[in-house]
């Protein structure tokens, strides 16, 4: 179980590294798809079928959007030599990564070991949730009943994003 998860997350990391170094933007977008679809398999291994269903739809849609953008604009990324500014940014990024690594090592002491998570507040949600909400699926019970207002807010965000996309794409640019 842990081994399978490690292999798939390893593929995801390789895909991510390829995505940010690819010369062709189309292959970068496809490599980004490796990360998304790898996440679907991880969700299935982690016993989260609802998340897998949602992620496979969302990832396909975002892949289509990205491919459309890349095909309608320019595909190739010219090679930029490593000038002084690029080098400064790379050093800054590495420094930030080392700092974050330090805090991650500290915080792993406070995490539950993998596969031995303790139920804290979710016990209150789970006790008799099927009878309270009338839904056999505990995840939908939480999303649509206990946290219903949160879901309403999410729908509002989605509508706002759609309105934003329409507003941006209909705008006539100044010549």
């Amino acid at each position: 179980m842990e081994l399978a998860l490690t292999i798939i997350t390893g593929f995801m990391v390789i895909g991510a590294i390829y995505a940010i170094h690819a010369k062709d933007l189309l292959s970068a977008v496809i490599a980004c798809g490796i990360v998304g679809y790898g996440l679907v398999i991880c969700f299935l291994l982690l016993k989260a079928p609802d998340l897998a269903i949602v992620q496979i739809v969302v990832d396909t849609m975002s892949l289509i959007i990205m491919v459309t953008v890349v095909l309608n604009t320019s595909r190739e990324e010219p090679y930029y030599g490593l000038d002084s500014r690029g080098r400064t940014l790379a050093v800054a990024a590495l420094a930030l990564i080392i700092a974050l690594l330090y805090y991650f090592v500290i915080s792993t002491g406070h995490l539950d070991a993998f596969g031995e998570s303790h139920l804290r507040m979710s016990e209150a949600y789970m006790n008799g949730a099927a009878e309270k909400t009338g839904s056999a699926n505990l995840v939908t019970g939480v999303v649509f009943d206990f946290r219903g207002y949160d879901t309403l807010g999410e729908a509002t965000v989605l509508v706002t994003a759609v309105l934003g996309v329409i507003a941006i794409l209909r705008l006539k640019g100044k010549k």
Binding site: V54, S62, S117, A136, V139, T160, L171
Partner: protein
């Protein structure tokens, strides 16, 4: 502990991409990689070894289920992630139409 480390490595790759890349599409891709790593982290936190899918079966009471709460939170976040990506892509395509380039430094120079 190894899945947590891989998940963190994914986050760091995305962070490195956001800071060092000059291409707008690459920056959007790096952001979505960081998003994916946080979703994976939440799903990992809720996993219980030997737990079942969080779907209640009345025939077997007392069954151990994986934690449904992180899953419910991630379900919301995934959809918001799609909204963010599509809005970002709309902005990027407008920028390309105006400046004919994806390079953020060139765009800054063109603005003067």
């Amino acid at each position: 502990m190894i899945p947590y480390w891989m998940c963190f490595a994914l986050f760091l790759v995305g962070l490195y991409g956001v800071i060092t890349r000059r291409n707008l599409v690459k920056i959007a891709i790096s952001l979505s990689i960081m998003e994916v790593s946080t979703f994976l982290f939440f799903a990992l936190m809720g996993y219980i070894e030997g737990g079942k899918f969080p779907i209640v079966d009345p025939a077997e009471p007392g069954q151990l289920y994986v934690d449904p709460l992180p899953q419910a939170l991630v379900l919301t976040a995934i959809v918001i992630g799609l909204a963010t990506t599509s809005l970002l892509m709309a902005v990027i395509i407008r920028i390309y139409r105006k400046y004919k380039t994806f390079d953020i430094r060139e765009i800054r120079n063109l603005r003067g």
